[in-house]
Symmetry: C2
Subunit: 222 residues, 2 copies
């Protein structure tokens, strides 16, 4: 049996990396609430490390927009504005559209087949109301396209924006709809036809949809 090599796990995670991942997860899933004050000494104790890796992790999270640092005053979790759906999704949509466009001439039939399977699982998750699994499958679907696009600048930006999307999902500002199922299939068909404009266009509307859904629901509630 193939023993997981050292190469597969790019070295043991450093304290800083563990702190980063953990705190980011806590912010995304709401364990650390919006605007909550972050005491580095406290976090250090909770994670069993010193303040240094915590500080470093918080600085990275600050760059990504998950925490706000006010020098000499306080460090706090960035407030969630539910209306941020309309701020985050437009740039994400155009980048995902670009990724789809770039992926079109490069994607293999094998990858497309694999994508179809993911979309099937996605549809099943949505149907049975398992939105958390659906979200992960949705991310998997789009990440595969980004990978094929082979552009680190696009990939890293999308990765950050998608983390914010996950946070909004946990705050019930973004919900997954059955429309995505057909749109995903539409993207795959466009890939097979080498039709990059259509692939890009569908990807774009697919990512913008939650904005309309959000404001429609808002109106219904009034």
């Amino acid at each position: 049996m193939p023993i997981p090599k050292k190469f597969s796990t790019p070295a043991r995670l450093s304290a800083k990396e563990r702190a980063f991942s953990q705190i980011q997860e806590w912010i995304i899933d709401g364990t650390l609430q919006s605007e909550e004050k972050l005491n580095d000494a406290e976090l250090a104790q909770a994670l069993g490390v010193s303040r240094t890796p915590i500080r470093e992790a918080l600085q990275l999270l600050s760059v990504q927009g998950f925490v706000e640092m006010h020098p000499g005053v306080a460090t706090q979790v960035t407030p969630v504005n539910k209306e941020d759906v309309s701020k985050i999704l437009p740039p994400l949509a155009v980048l995902q559209a670009l990724a789809a466009e770039l992926a079109t001439p490069a994607i293999s039939q094998q990858t497309i087949d694999s994508q179809r399977n993911i979309n099937t699982e996605f549809s099943q998750a949505v149907e049975r109301g398992d939105f958390y699994s659906a979200l992960k499958l949705d991310e998997q679907f789009h990440n595969a396209i980004v990978e094929v696009a082979q552009n680190p600048y696009i990939a890293s930006t999308i990765s950050t924006l998608q983390a914010h999307v996950r946070r909004l999902f946990f705050h019930k500002s973004i919900i997954l709809t059955t429309d995505s199922i057909e749109e995903h299939e539409g993207i795959l068909k466009a890939f097979e036809c080498q039709d990059k404009e259509t692939a890009a266009s569908i990807a774009r509307t697919n990512w913008l949809r939650p904005i309309d859904v959000f404001y429609s629901r808002l109106q219904e509630q009034q």
Copy 2:
């Protein structure tokens, strides 16, 4: 005479911020060369601070893609591939296009007038071959649009990508052409007509042009 208030300079720059700006500038203008090894102790001495703020600055630069950190091995300046023009500009172009689209309904005539002045200065700088000034004016022109678009997610991403563009400019991979002068005016006209599609479209082609220029020059040299 009005003494510069404390508010204007958002607090004295921290050692970390100074280190970040300085090292980034050195990487962009080529003082720190491609793939050069970065010894934090050395940099600390050069900037008269300890290793801590240097380390923090390097980590931020790593996130932005200006340095690569290989734990336990070395930290080095990210290599410049001149072909990166074709990696960086597409995402920048779609984001600038989006910014133009979002700015269209919000921009004031006053801002448009100011933009025209900037474009005039830009054209003069290009005409007299002062490409460095031209670059700064070009950035000023597009940054104004990004500001009006009022979207921090777009703004911060564009800011990072544009820093990479500056680096490519210093490596002679990107050159400014007179085409931009008319395209800038075209964007302003589109703003005045509230024609967001045209504004976005011109912004996009304006940012993609250097790719064609780069590969054309490459062919000429062969």
